[in-house]
């Protein structure tokens, strides 16, 4: 337990002492708030959209930033060879991965929660009294933050497996977007396919009118979030096994 505490302390110092790994997760706040402001000013909502959905339009962008953050936390080390320094200091690699996961998840979930609250506040302030229904902000705001943070963990796993920034970012963004893009080609199975995408799960959570049972499956927002959590657990587990077995 002591060893794990030390590993978390070390990984937190690493994360906060590099510009890229501080600003990428923090950028979530202006992304969501900025999009909320944009939607508020232009009123670019469907009549059946909720204030919550409109305010959190930027959450999809935030999800990309979170994925990139997760990748950078590990691929930056592989890029410079510093992973060897890490594994000589902390030979229990599964513990290093767990510590990285905790730091990435906590940082992202906090940043995403603050961003979502701020976005909703801006949206509510600008859109109230204009005929849109409010939506159900609680517990959806927690769900949005969790979904974004779980996506960061998917990035972390991709970074460990591919060890290369550009490759891992491409892979994880592909995983976020491709099911939604290609699902319409599969006719009746569209809902099943796009429903598996973490991006669509986020849209379910924000209750936008873009998401219907027909195009995103009938699985509710929270069970879908469970699916994303399962992806993260499985991928991180796989990444952990690869990390322990291979030469550094």
């Amino acid at each position: 337990m002591n060893t794990f505490r030390h590993a978390v302390a070390a990984e937190w110092v690493k994360t906060r002492s590099l510009r890229s790994t501080v600003w990428t997760p923090l950028a979530i706040v202006p992304m969501v708030a900025g999009m909320a402001l944009f939607v508020g000013v232009t009123e670019s909502l469907q009549p059946d959209d909720t204030v919550l959905g409109g305010s959190l339009t930027g959450a999809v962008l935030a999800q990309f930033a979170a994925a990139v953050f997760g990748v950078l936390v590990v691929s930056g080390e592989y890029g410079s060879g510093m992973h060897r320094t890490t594994f000589t200091a902390m030979p229990r690699r599964s513990l290093v991965l767990a510590a990285k996961g905790l730091v990435v998840f906590t940082f992202t979930v906090l940043s995403a929660f603050v961003a979502s609250c701020l976005g909703l506040w801006i949206g509510a302030w600008m859109l109230s009294g204009k005929g849109y229904s409010d939506g159900e902000p609680f517990p959806a705001l927690f769900g949005v933050a969790l979904c974004i943070a779980l996506t960061a963990l998917l990035g972390l796993a991709a970074g460990v497996l591919l060890r290369h920034s550009a490759g891992a970012i491409t892979a994880v963004i592909g995983f976020l977007m491709l099911p939604g893009l290609f699902a319409p080609l599969f006719g009746d199975f569209q809902g099943w396919i796009s429903g598996t995408s973490p991006q669509v799960v986020l849209q379910k959570m924000t209750q936008t009118s873009d998401v219907t049972a027909q195009n995103a499956g009938s699985l509710g927002a929270w069970p879908s979030l469970g699916l994303v959590a399962a992806y993260a657990v499985v991928l991180l587990g796989f990444a952990g096994v690869r990390l322990v077995r291979r030469d550094a």
Binding site: N2, T3, H6, A7, A9, A10, E11, V13, K14, S17, L18, R19, S20, G76, E77, S80, G81, M82, R84, T85, T86, F87, T88, A89, M90, P91, R92, D247, A248
Partner: protein, 303 residues
Amino acid sequence: MIELRELCKRYGGRTAVDGLSFRVPPGRVTGFLGPNGAGKSTTMRMIVGLDRPTAGSATVCGKAYREFPAPLREVGTLLEPGAVQGGRTAFHHLLWLAYSNGIGERGVREALERVGLGDAGRRKVGGFSLGMTQRLGIAAALLGDPGVVLLDEPINGLDTEGIRWLRGLLRELAGEGRTVLLSSHVMSEMELVADHLIVIGKGRLVSDSPLREFIERYSRASTTLRSPDGERFCAVLRSRGAAVHETGNERYVVEGPDAVTVGSWAAEHGVTLYELTPRHASLEEIYTELTRDEGEYTAKGAA
């Protein structure tokens, strides 16, 4: 104490380390020498648990490296100097390392001072010269006050001042009873710092002996002399079986008898000597010859 037993590493069909066994005891500076690609770095990576041996084992103080809960307190390691992220300050690089092994901030400041980077701690590593990056790596190795120090090519990038400093530091560490192993592919570096030499070539042990013994075993002794009676003395030397070459300006190189013998022969024949110097082949020469065709010398080294 570092101990290797029949250590092997194969990558696909290529054998990088081939049945390497040796011990590195505490209290002296052991040089780990071999040409590029001889398997030095691979061996060091296996000692610190980064690479898994295909066969055999490497232990530090009787334990596999991966078993240490806080390894920086047992073993200080300098791997390739590029193994840092340029965007981080020197202080923060050492700080995460320190925290990972339960070492406090004071240890970080002390390590920075010790390698002469006290004023550079707030600067980003990306802007460091190779020499400064090496010093940072050495600071990282000393962070946990370890009993065993492993340095892979530590002299790379250091200037003359830096090399002198490192030599003093290594002497001091060995003097305190620590185990010091440093690798290099340049013999002249080892000549200055090591007490003991382990030479490998193509992943196999070529020689494991004290530096002095190594020189004596492999070098052909020769003597240079300067004499106005050179012509006459050469005839004497040749008649007694020595090889003599004239190098000009009344100077001669004698191979075979040592300087003491040459001197007494000169006295015997009333030859005037202006200069008489015993000379060993430099380590660089011996090493180049030893590793040029490693296969030929393997048996000789192991004997």
